[in-house]
Amino acid sequence: MAQLAGDLSLAEDCAQEACAAAVAQWPRDGVPANPGGWVVAVARHRALDHLRRESARAGKEREAVREWAAAGPDRSAVAGDDQLALLFACCHPALDPASRVTLTLRVVCGLPTASIARLLLLPEPTVAQRIVRAKRKIRDAGIRLRLPGPGERAARLASVLRVIYLTFTEGHSPHGTSAVVQDDLCEEALRLARRLHRLVPGEPEVTGLLALILLTSARSAARADQDGALVLLADQDRSRWDRDRLAEGQSLAETALAQRRPGPYQLQAAIAACHADAATAAGTDWRQIAALYGELLRFDPSPVIEANRAIAVAYAEGPAAGLVILDTLAASSRLARWPQLHIARGALLARCGHHEDAVAAYRDALALEPAGPVRRHITGQIAALGAAPAPTEET
């Protein structure tokens, strides 16, 4: 329907009108057999009316009528394609990445601007402006709301996956709040991932992302203790993990990998599945995880993945082996600004018995001003090593 109107704002207004009409009519007339399709049909009708009134451009109207007439009886398929086209449009590479996330949350998830601002920790006018600019760009630059052709599909799908992934990670490790997990944002990301999986069932990376989100979010309840402090994976009460989500995630991860077209989301899901497989932290198959990170590096040669591999190697082969990798990474200027690297070094140094060096590494992490729960974890570790936090630190 947005394809018809070519303009997201018009499409949104017509959809709202259609829903209002539904709310008024259905109690009176009964719910139609395909309610979603009915709403789409009414919205299209109103969009067409609007176009006829507004536009003197006969060509556009002819095309619109042709498309609507060609919509056919299978309304659910049409609605599905519309949703997918909308998702692709909101994640178009011609829009800057931050705008893609905000626009998707607004237009695809239907979140009000105020909620988005709260979830992303941005001022509401900033979010509103970003959305307005993005819609304007879609309209003025002629980004048509349609499914990408076979040549573009892979790249465009990658962009959609990235937006959903960013939404999830923002919820899973929220910046600057006192909360350890932002459930609402995680759940929105999960909804998006499910919807995408339903619309694009044959793509293993799409299945992989859904699996990853299920497996990771399954651990949310155990990530914070009753005081709201961060609990590391190794220390989590695994009885608080959501077994249903884990089972579904593991099954989907297997299905995806069985297609023999591996990719980064599938590999991350496989790593999460390794953790899910272990009844206790001690029972974790770290060798397998280290091997999976090695595979992941081939797709994403980032220092963050290297650091995670180092931690897995440390668990599998001993802290000294892991430290070798981390020390190399710490020497690189980019990763030196990543608090988790120094936290990992601190943990491994402590396990090697180098307590002073461990405290120094933890202080390096603190100096980078990580989020509240992480900061509290670090000061806790420093205290456990018998040192006081640096004189200027507050806990």
């Binding site: 011609a94 003025d140 990408p148």
Partner: protein, 118 residues
């Protein structure tokens, strides 16, 4: 919709004239232009003479000022343009990607404003 594709590149980027790679690049320009023409989306195109040949005109307080060279000295220089008329941005971007300047520099694709009753 009408789009202009502005071809930007650093002067030393891309193969040097006289090399076989340069001839190959000319061939790629030709293929791209032909593809656009065959698809009926090409309105106009042209390579520009180098920035040193430019003259910049400004009229301030009724006085015409001329200066030698482009309006701004920037590293990536405007080297040519294509004007396309096609159905949407994705189509324009697809053709823009065929232009060799995209490989050696950057191609900016911008819609031309539609004036008149809307």
């Amino acid at each position: 919709m009408k789009y202009i594709a502005l071809l930007y590149g650093e002067p030393d980027a891309g193969p040097a004239p006289g090399t076989p790679e340069f001839v190959e690049m000319l061939g790629e320009f030709q293929s791209a232009t032909t593809a656009m023409a065959d698809a009926g989306v090409l309105v106009d195109s042209g390579p520009l003479q180098p920035p040193q040949t430019a003259t910049t005109v400004r009229v301030r307080d009724g006085q015409t000022q001329l200066s030698d060279g482009p309006f701004a000295e920037i590293k990536e220089q405007l080297g040519g343009y294509y004007i396309l008329d096609c159905e949407d941005l994705d189509t324009a971007l697809r053709y823009a990607a065929m232009i060799p300047s995209a490989k050696y520099g950057s191609v900016e694709v911008r819609p031309v404003m539609v004036m008149g009753p809307h």
